[in-house]
């Protein structure tokens, strides 16, 4: 599609008009951190955020989502998808959206996810500030972000707005855009290329080598138990991960005791009972009983299991897990670099 330009002066009115016309979700400040929330005033939009607490997956795959409503003998699906604009998604989170798009679409397509996904216009924006735990400059570098409708890059004089789909182009009417000069597009490319070198953390090995090594050390129980020694099995690393999509399904009654809902909620493979089944008479079988096994499962999942299917690791380098982990043991660069260096 095409590249457009909007001046710094015209940018705020653009956002204001967009907010008036559409439901807009974007990064806003929450104390000293950032979250994706409904934006109701242009001045609340913080495109200078480093990383949000939760990734934008919550927009398409909410922490708790009703799947079926029931009342007496009657029941129905409850797919609700309001048209909206998701503004200001960093490229690494776009890559994560690409992955969840594929995973929710394959085999049995998940209509709850896809309805929300299709109703949403995704506008990516360049990384202006780098999170302390970021390593997106060194992971999946050859995987290009796809699932966005437009890409916004701040350059010295204003913003370059590259439309990728008709959905993205449809936003042009809300601002005073003009066709971008070649020099402006080049400036945007430069901004996006330079930032890749600014990550404080990095994984020093190509994805294929990491995947191979993960399989090699799979059976090294002592290694995994040591790495997971301090794990609280809290699942924080799962919950904040933009590519984690496991869920639990539970029914709940409404207060009237006649109606209720079947709902799914985010689940976490690091939690103790994630792979546990009942055998009867109080007996259980836990297929991933130890912390080491569960910790290993997460790394296999991010670094090896899905690579072929996704065309790269199921990790985008956002660093959220490094920051969320209470025991400070979840950092992929630390763990992967250690595993790659482990005695062969």
């Amino acid at each position: 599609m095409n590249a457009y330009f909007i001046s710094a002066h015209d940018f705020k009115p653009f956002i204001t008009r967009l907010i008036e016309a559409r439901r807009v979700i974007g990064p806003v400040a929450k104390r000293n951190r950032f979250t994706f929330e409904r934006v109701t005033r242009a001045e609340d939009l913080r495109l200078d955020y480093d990383v949000t607490i939760l990734p934008p997956k919550k927009i398409f795959f909410p922490p708790v989502q009703d799947l079926v409503h029931f009342e007496g003998e009657r029941y129905a699906g409850c797919i609700e998808a309001e048209p909206q604009v998701l503004l200001g998604v960093h490229f690494y989170d776009v890559k994560a959206i690409d992955m969840t798009d594929q995973l929710f679409r394959e085999k049995f397509a998940d209509p709850n996810y896809l309805a929300a996904r299709e109703a949403t216009t995704v506008v990516a924006s360049n990384v202006q500030r780098v999170s302390d735990a970021a390593f997106w400059g060194s992971i999946g570098a050859d995987v290009a972000p796809k699932g966005h409708d437009a890409f916004l890059t701040m350059i010295e004089t204003g913003y370059v707005f590259e439309t990728r789909t008709p959905k993205g182009a449809a936003l042009l009417e809300f601002g005073r855009f003009r066709i971008a000069e070649k020099s402006e597009v080049a400036a945007a490319d430069r901004v996006n290329a330079e930032i890749l070198e600014k990550c404080p953390e990095r994984i020093d090995h190509p994805a294929e080598a990491v995947a191979k090594r993960l399989w090699e050390v799979f059976g090294d129980e002592a290694l995994w138990e040591k790495l997971a020694e301090d794990c609280f099995s809290c699942g924080s690393c799962n919950v904040i991960c933009p590519t984690c999509y496991c869920f639990d399904v539970q029914d709940r009654w409404n207060l009237d005791q006649k109606s209720g809902a079947r709902a799914r909620s985010w689940d976490a493979c690091l939690t103790q009972d994630f792979a546990q089944v009942s055998l009867g008479a109080g007996a259980t079988e836990n297929f991933r009983e130890s912390r080491g096994e569960r910790f290993r499962h997460r790394f296999m999942r991010k670094g090896a299991y899905l690579n072929k299917k996704l065309g790269g690791p199921a990790c985008v380098g956002c660093g959220r897990c490094s920051q969320a982990c209470t025991a400070d043991i979840a950092s992929p660069p630390k763990v992967i670099n250690k595993i790659m260096g482990a005695a062969r």
């Binding site: 799947l67 079926v68 409503h69 029931f70 009342e71 003998e73 009657r74 029941y75 129905a76 699906g77 409850c78 797919i79 609700e80 995973l103 929710f104 394959e106 085999k107 049995f108 397509a109 998940d110 209509p111 709850n112 799979f218 059976g219 999509y245 496991c246 869920f247 639990d248 399904v249 539970q250 029914d251 709940r252 009654w253 109606s259 209720g260 079947r262 799914r264 689940d267 493979c269 994630f274 792979a275 546990q276 089944v277 009942s278 055998l279 009867g280 008479a281 079988e285 297929f287 991933r288 096994e293 499962h297 296999m300 090896a304 299991y305 899905l306």
Partner: protein, 292 residues
């Protein structure tokens, strides 16, 4: 849900929502309980028929998600053959909230089902071959779909042998079937209990003791379903008989919560039991370190 009975602008339907149809993978179908029988003190057999009376096509070894609204969903193997159409059987062991609620159902009640899911047994690989089925405990339920299938299409298979082992005589499932199989010349049926009680005059010992009762011919395809501990002993025995690992089919259990390869609970390494399985060859499974 709004007060006027619409959900997101859609009428509430007793059956499939018209906008969503088969497109909503989480929307179940209503099934009537035709028959509910307590086969054992903790296992109830239900014969079900879909209320919309639409054909229910499945393959032996596939499973469904069975649910009661307000309680939840559980994965249950189909325990009857698709050759016996219009109704289908499941066996539910009372272990948790949902299964205990299902135990409260009687003929005439309804529940909900989604599916069928999973790969089922590789019928093409079994046709024209000798087949040995080894079932332990509740493992007889999902394998019964294949047992019935083979009995109904007996000419398509060669020698057919069935081993069934259970804890004690009180835990024998499908008593009428067992009667039939004991007498039948269509199947060589051997049974055992770990502990004899009451008037039991049959074999006593774990399921592997049945291997002494018959001779396994080369080229026999072996289907195994039972508790995790049983796999270990049966596989050791099959190894001593030099059965090739690609000829051994294991119907495995995991926490197949969604049934559609999304929720993650049933993963064995990079495989989803619900969509890649639940039937795997031993040759496939032995490559997965998390399998055993």
């Amino acid at each position: 849900m709004s007060k006027n009975g619409t959900v997101a602008g859609m009428d509430i339907h007793g059956t499939l929502g018209k906008l969503e149809g088969a497109g909503n993978i989480f929307l179940p179908r209503k099934a009537a309980v035709l028959l509910a029988n307590d086969d054992t003190p903790i296992e109830k057999r239900l014969t079900l028929r879909l209320e919309d009376d639409a054909p229910f096509e499945f393959s032996p070894g596939q499973f469904i998600e069975v649910s009661l609204f307000g309680y939840g969903e559980i994965p249950v193997g189909l325990a009857s053959s698709p050759t016996r159409q219009r109704s289908f059987d499941i066996v539910v062991r009372a272990v948790g909230r949902v299964s205990k609620a299902i135990h409260g159902l009687h003929g005439g009640d309804t529940l909900h089902v989604r599916g069928p899911y999973g790969n089922g047994f590789d019928l093409d690989a079994l046709r024209g071959k000798n087949v040995l089925i080894i079932a332990g405990g509740l493992g007889l339920a999902p394998t019964r779909s294949l047992i019935q299938y083979i009995l109904d299409k007996r000419d398509e298979f060669k020698r057919f042998t069935l081993f069934y082992g259970t804890r004690d005589p009180n835990t024998l499932l499908f008593p009428e079937d067992l009667e039939e199989w004991r007498e039948s010349d269509k199947v060589e049926y051997f049974e055992t209990v770990d502990r004899a009680t009451g008037p039991w005059k049959g074999n006593v010992g774990v399921v592997t003791t049945l291997f002494q009762k018959t001779k396994l011919e080369p080229g026999t395809k072996v289907v195994v379903c039972g508790p995790p501990i049983m796999f270990k002993f049966v596989l050791r025995e099959l190894d001593s008989l030099a059965v090739p690992h690609q000829d051994i089919y294991l119907d495995v259990e995991r926490r197949m919560k969604c049934g559609v390869g999304k929720c993650g609970h049933c993963q064995i390494n990079d495989k989803y039991t619900c969509t890649d399985g639940p039937v795997f060859t031993f040759a496939e499974l032995e490559k997965l370190p998390e399998a055993f």
